[in-house]
């Protein structure tokens, strides 16, 4: 599959395909999934939909290298090398550290690695998420949407080819969510992205590729190729058709 031409970004990123083979999760004696294969095409925005408790967050954690007991799978990049150090992670909570200001939160990664933080680039990224004036603000003074934008800037600051997002917009009000979706789509255009969500319209709006995860043990159903490029209008007939197909796959239609 060929995804939309990458948008020009501040730093070039080598696209990377991610493959996961034979993923398996056993939790409390229950097999949530077994023998699951997933490929994230390089430079594509992939959305993973599914009912809660199906194991989609665990799948994302496996991709992020956050393995816990009971979960396993064979994970590598398209170049055959492990993914360690080439993934950025964005969670539902903004995970901002309350004792650091916005700028220091954005540069947390370099501080953890013992590198000198690139403040210039951090400020640039903050400007891109429209928070240039808040570099020295404390997180608790920001609104939920602003905090999640800081988290997005922190994710971009890591400058990794693969970005994994676990329902990062679900805690926000509708309008803020729409704005943040547009911003994420724009700024992550040249990365390999996996977005886990339970909102079919969000997936249809943002995804180059949409997978629906359902059943027990769970399997992945690909959605037929979606019309047009991302940031689709939910009013379009083709999106409506896809929406019905998703509901059917989720077992609700």
């Amino acid at each position: 599959m060929q995804c939309a031409a990458p948008a020009p970004s501040s730093l070039p990123i080598l696209p990377l395909t991610v493959t996961l083979r034979a993923a398996r999760l056993v939790y409390g004696g229950l097999t949530l999934f077994d023998g699951l294969d997933l490929e994230l095409t390089s430079g594509c925005f992939t959305c993973l939909l599914g009912p809660s408790g199906i194991g989609k967050s665990s799948l994302l954690r496996l991709l992020a290298g956050l393995t816990t007991r009971g979960i396993s799978g064979e994970l590598r990049g398209g170049d055959g090398l492990p993914l360690t150090g080439r993934v950025a992670y964005m969670a539902q909570e903004d995970l901002l550290l309350p004792w650091l200001n916005v700028l220091d939160n954005v540069t947390l990664g370099s501080r953890l690695r013992g590198e000198r933080p690139d403040r210039e680039r951090a400020l640039q990224l903050l400007a891109q998420v429209d928070l240039a004036d808040y570099a020295l603000a404390r997180p608790e003074t920001l609104s939920g949407g602003m905090r999640q934008r800081v988290a997005l800037a922190r994710t971009l600051m890591e400058n990794r080819p693969v970005v994994l997002m676990d329902e990062p917009f679900s805690g926000l009000d509708a309008l803020t969510r729409l704005r943040l979706q547009a911003l994420a789509a724009e700024l992550l255009a040249d990365r390999t992205v996996l977005l886990v969500t339970h909102d079919p319209l969000e997936a249809l709006r943002l995804g180059d590729q949409v997978w629906v995860m359902n059943g027990r043990p769970a399997t992945l159903f690909p959605l037929a190729e979606l019309p047009g490029a991302p940031l689709r209008d939910p009013g379009e007939p083709a999106v409506q058709t896809a929406y019905r197909a998703i509901l059917h796959l989720l077992g609700a239609g």
Partner: protein, 256 residues
Amino acid sequence: MKGLWRGLLTLAGLLSLWQVVVILGRLPPYLLPGPWAVATSLWRHTGLLLAHASVTALEIVLGMLLGVLLGSASALALGYSRRARRWLLPVLIASQAIPVFAIAPLLVLWLGYGLGSKIAMATLIIYFPVTANFYDGLRHTPRGWLDLARVMLPTPRPWAVLRHIAIPAALPALASGLRVAAAIAPIGAVLGEWVGSSAGLGYLMLHANSRMQIDLMFAALLVLATLAVGLYFTVDAGLRRLLPWQPRHPETVEPD
């Protein structure tokens, strides 16, 4: 402002109650001197009281510093090393079964009548609450932050995670340990003075008691209470300044 008035009113009420009990109970001054007698004594012996108070204050402050230092170091060792947890934690918990009061005479025997034994008492008495609170905070770093750090780090760097995430995240817990420490450190110091000393407010109280100077004893008690309350509020205010992100005490909604 309103709080200040309420405080003054409460103080005035307590003083009046005290005076009333003295008058109605016809209590002789060697059992319970009235507030006026205590105030007079406070005024007459200001120099003496201040001299002894400064000794006690020094014991408390040094004991606090030492206890917080040792407690924090122990908590960090427990939080960082599994071996320390396995060996140190049981000893730590078992040591709490021995009341500090019981070993006070030993400390005086070993460290003498001077400052040393009192500082040791104060240190011992605050060591456990500081260690327990800080260790508890270190154990409960929110998982999301640790996940974030794990993804950010290509190779594990436990010290960096401890320094940049786990320790700052545990500071509010350490702060509650410090508040407890500030409240009980004076107990340790005065206890040490009672067992054997030649200076300090505890010594002065015992001395005054044996010479039937009950008004002086009360004055010393008053100074000690002021010292303890002042220490607590100083520590509390300092911690609030240092940890501005710490959630405030939940405001209770009261119907007016």
